[in-house]
C-alpha cells in the first residue's frame, strides 16, 4: 500500500515539475521577445506557455486516473474521473463564452 502511494506521489510530482518548468521557459522566452523582438513569435510562445500551464493540472488528474486504475482502486478512479469531467465542463463553458463574445 505504502509503495503504491509513494509511486503515485513520485509520478504526480514529476509531471507537475515538467509542466511548470516547460511553461515557465515558454513564458519567459515569450515575455523577452514581446519586449525586445518579434511580436508574432512572442504571442505563439506566450499562448503556448499559458496553455501548458493550464494543461498541467489536467495532465496530473489524467495520470492519477491511470494510476488508480492500475491499483484497481475503483472508487478513486470514479472520483478522479468526476474531477476531469468538471475540468472539461469548464473548458466547454469557455468555448461557449468565446463564441458569444466574438
Amino acid at each position: 500500500m505504502t509503495t503504491a502511494i509513494d509511486r503515485l506521489e513520485r509520478i504526480v510530482g514529476r509531471s507537475l515539475r515538467i509542466g511548470v518548468a516547460t511553461s515557465s521557459v515558454a513564458l519567459a522566452a515569450g515575455l523577452l521577445l514581446a519586449v525586445f523582438g518579434d511580436d508574432r513569435v512572442a504571442a505563439v510562445l506566450l499562448h503556448a506557455g499559458v496553455v501548458i500551464l493550464l494543461a498541467t493540472p489536467v495532465a496530473r488528474v489524467l495520470i492519477s486516473i491511470v494510476e488508480y486504475a492500475r491499483e484497481r482502486d475503483w472508487p478513486f478512479v470514479a472520483l478522479t474521473v468526476i474531477v476531469l469531467v468538471e475540468l472539461m465542463a469548464s473548458a466547454v463553458a469557455a468555448l461557449f463564452f468565446n463564441r458569444q463574445v466574438k
Binding site: I5, E9, L16, V20, G49, V83, A94
Partner: protein, 276 residues
C-alpha cells in the same frame, strides 16, 4: 484596460515578486494581494486581474507540490476527493463571474479579506498529530514525517462533509475573485477536520492547481487573460514565493501575522471604497 507596455509588464513582474514573497512568507498563494494591486492600482478590469492571478495560483501550486511530493505530507487521497467539490465550486464561480457586476465582486473580495484577517487573528494552532506512527488513520487519514516532532506522525480525518463544503466554497470564491482559496480550506481542515497544519497547507496547495484551472480556462476562453501580463506575473510570483519560503523560516510568525492582518484590512477598505 491600460495599454500593454514593457513598463506595465515590468511593474506586474515586480508586483508578482512582492505578492509571491508575502504569500510564501505567510503560506498563501499571494492572489489576495495581487488582485487588488492589478485592479485598483493599475486599473485592470476585475476579470483581467482575476485571470492573471489564477495563472499565478496554478504555477505556485504546481511548483510547490512538485517540491513537496515526498514524505507524504500531501494527502493525495483526501486532496483528490475534495477536488470533486472544489472544481465544481470553481466551475460555477467561473460561469457566474461573467454574469455578476464588478462592484459586487469587489465587495465580495472586501468581505473575504476581512474574514481572512479575523481568522488569522483568532487562528487556533491545534496540532492534531498522533505521535504513534502505527495508529489507525482510517480511510482518508495519513502519516508523514513532521519536523517539529522529529518523527512520523499520524492523523485521522474528522467531519468530512464540512471539508467538502469548505472546498466547494473555496473553489467558488477562487474563480470569482482570482485567489487560490487555501485561505478558507487550510483553517477549516486544521481547526475542525483533524489535519495537522503542515499537511493541511500542503494538501490545499496541491488542490488549488485544479481549482484555479477550472476558473482560469473560462477567463482565458473569454479573452480576458492577457498572456504577456500573465507571463510577467507568473515569473514574478515564482521568484517571490521561492524567496518568501526561504526567508519565511527565519521571520517571527507573530510579526508576519500582524503584517498580514493590516494589509488585508487595507485591501478590504480599498475594495469597499472602489465598489461605491
Amino acid at each position: 484596460m491600460p495599454t500593454v507596455t514593457p513598463t506595465l509588464a515590468g511593474i506586474i513582474f515586480v508586483a508578482g515578486v512582492f505578492a509571491g514573497g508575502l504569500g510564501g512568507l505567510l503560506g498563501l498563494g499571494g492572489g489576495i494581494f495581487l488582485v487588488p494591486f492589478l485592479n485598483l492600482a493599475l486599473g485592470l478590469p476585475f476579470p483581467a486581474a482575476a485571470a492573471i492571478s489564477l495563472t499565478t495560483v496554478i504555477a505556485t501550486s504546481s511548483s510547490v507540490s512538485a517540491a513537496r511530493s515526498k514524505n507524504q505530507v500531501i494527502n493525495l487521497r483526501l486532496g483528490m476527493l475534495l477536488e470533486v467539490a472544489t472544481a465544481a465550486g470553481s466551475f460555477l464561480g467561473g460561469v457566474t463571474a461573467q454574469l455578476v457586476a464588478t462592484t459586487t465582486l469587489q465587495r465580495l473580495f472586501g468581505f473575504a479579506a476581512i474574514a481572512v484577517a479575523m481568522i488569522t487573528m483568532v487562528r487556533l494552532n491545534r496540532r492534531n498529530v498522533i505521535l504513534d506512527p502505527t495508529a489507525d488513520t482510517g480511510l482518508l487519514g495519513g502519516r508523514f514525517f513532521e519536523k517539529e516532532s522529529r518523527a512520523v506522525v499520524s492523523y485521522r480525518i474528522k467531519r468530512l462533509p464540512l471539508a467538502l463544503i469548505a472546498s466547494f466554497v473555496a473553489g467558488n470564491l477562487s474563480s470569482l475573485l482570482g485567489i487560490g482559496g487555501g485561505i478558507i480550506k487550510v483553517p477549516v481542515l486544521n481547526a475542525w477536520c483533524g489535519m495537522p497544519l503542515r499537511a493541511a497547507a500542503a494538501t490545499s496547495a496541491f488542490m488549488i492547481g485544479v481549482t484555479a484551472t477550472a476558473g482560469a480556462v473560462i477567463y482565458y476562453g473569454h479573452g480576458q487573460l492577457v498572456p504577456v501580463l500573465a507571463a510577467a506575473a507568473v515569473l514574478g510570483v515564482q521568484l517571490g514565493s521561492w524567496g518568501g519560503l526561504h526567508f519565511g523560516v527565519h521571520a517571527p510568525v507573530k510579526w508576519l501575522k500582524v503584517l498580514m492582518v493590516v494589509m488585508l484590512l487595507v485591501v478590504a477598505a480599498m475594495m469597499f471604497m472602489k465598489s461605491q
